[in-house]
Amino acid sequence: MEKPEYNQAIVRSFVNWSIVWGLVAVLVGVIVSFQMIYPDLNFPPYLTFGRLRPLHTNAGIYGWGVGTIFALFLYIVQRLCKTGLWSNKLASFQLWFFNATIIAAAVTLLLGYTTSKEYHELEWPIDVMVVVLWVAFAINIIMTIIKRKEEQMYISLWYMMAAIVGVAILYLVNAAAVPVSLFKSYSAYAGTNDANVHWWFGHNAVAMALTAPPLAMFYYFLPKSTGVPIYSHRLSIISFWSLIFMYLWTGAHHLLWTPVPDWIQTLAMAFSVMLIAPSWGSVINGYLSMNGQWQQMKENYLVKFLILGITFYGLQTLQGPMQAIRTFSAFIHYTDWIPGHIHMGTLGWVSLIAFAGIYFLVPRIYGREVYSIPLANLHFWLVVVGQLIYSVSLWVAGVMQAGMWNAVNADGSLTYTFMETMVEMYPYWWARAVGGVIYLAGVLVFIYNIWMSVRKGQPATATATATAAAGSAGRA
């Protein structure tokens, strides 16, 4: 059979750039974590917490998250379709436009041009850039799938297509605004409506950007790394359809007890709990795929990243529904627990899968074996320990904070003033900052390892190149 001409160069560039933006995200995260302890570390007007924190989240979600989606999807889609990209030119355009968008986003956020909507802070001209970028990506992926040489579409391709459609709908609807000037606009929706539209976006951006794509990667890289197929095709079908159906009902769990109509809150709560099933469908499918292969946890560092990643996904999708229950939300919402939760998802789940994907790609896109597996293991432990210190300390902080906010005296008065509760957070914020520094160290080890692989790694073996050509990742 004639070997398809895969575009490796574009994958390599996206990997490189997403690593750059990932480093920026983590570095800024560490900076803002120290700003919360030392207000003197704010340098107005550009480098204050209020402007840097959105830069941290945007660099994380759009630079690292979406960057790795671009990188790994452009790789996976070619392999699963056994054909090159539909358009290499479009992919090159996508690469430079991606970087232009992220740079424009970073600059405007520091200048204070923001809509204030969480995870959708970018003002309308940057919104337009994001839309152009996504359309370019979508066309290339979908057209590549249409001209594929492999009739059956593997699980990863379903998640990919759902994510492409989902992000497009969410982003366009929530971006609707009336411009006043080049860098100021007012939302098309007001007050309670705006809140409801926004968290429909906010929660499903997590679904379509930080859940479906990592799942697409997981379903591809796990069988590729272990050499055995996914346990159950049927389970993956059920998980996929129920996941993308149920997710969209749950946005209002971010708005429990607010003026949003009660019935929307109740639906959001119910569907959030129901979402445990499709989420765990994938978790269980991942675990059972390891049947008879568990020794690979010891022997194959990629498996360690992937299995711990899916484990954090499993924990995340239990903790999330718990927070979506009214009574627990009343207690824990608005506390430091919440950043603890989201960082388990981003640092634990999304990033571990992306790291595994990139390590897997090293021999295939750089033509070099990974420089050092001990260093990859060190990277693994630093990021896992860093993330756990981060999350666990903030969970404890959040419960304490909530307890103090809710404490009442015998006569019905409040036991603590707000400041009495806030000052108790400092030690925990220290612990969080330390966790962040450890995570940053892990990322630096990762970058060093990749750098050294490119410079000094052994030339890639024939097996790596051979498996690279094999299109379908395990079918059951």
Partner: protein, 291 residues
Amino acid sequence: MWEKRPVLLLILATAAILVGTVVTMVLPFVWVNTEADRIASVTPYTPLQQEGRDLYIREGCNNCHTQTVRPLVTEVLRYGDYSKSGEFVYDRPFLWGSKRTGPDLARLGGKYPDSWHYKHMDSPRSMVPRTNMPDYAWMKTNLLDPEMVRRKMQVLGFPYTEEQIKALVGKNEIDALVAYLQKLGSDIPWRVATQATMVGELKNPFVRDHQAMEEGREIYKKNCASCHGEHLDGDIAPPLNGLTQTDAALFETLYNGLPAGGMPGFASLGASKIWQVVSYLKYHDHEKGQH
């Protein structure tokens, strides 16, 4: 079958995504921001307030402050009346936030006098010693652009007068921000509605009780000193040495505050702590510094 037909898969996936979207995101527009949740006393922002709101957005205040009080006992005690949908109809975008690193601000309007806010924005730690809020003194050097504000009012469709636009000349960013903060949550008369009426005889249980005065001094330092001065000699609020009111009158003032004078009520501290402060204020020898 859909596993072999990408276009079909795309259509089905879109349909699956749209069901929940239509029910929970599109449909609510029928009920929200309609006559049913309208509150007559809620008014649009003035040019100065709207500009303040946009500065609140520019500086990302919503990263640390929420603006929605939930109908929960301790929350209403701490912040005031719970938020109603009709109070937000002029908010583009909404600013409810998701994290309370600092306190909720939905009911901030009218809690403190303007002078408190000016000092606090200059240097939050001068008013609240251990806060982690950054200083915003630098915003005072930035003047407003009246023509830009006029355009904003036109895009929003809010009423404004030429006088209001002219009055913006020479105003700085902190002026606007404070005007906005003073409007927050004050369109409904909740402060009046939650005023407590004192019934029966109020009797101070701690008259000249040294222990109580000591505790009263600590409470005073944390909650009162930033406005009334560490030595009760007054600052942005009047001096408190040589008070002549009765204990009961002092208790009532501390409990309910003086909304007209910009003094917040301290009912949430509870009667016992308020009596301790009353005792400290009245019976402690402030000149000699002893009880």
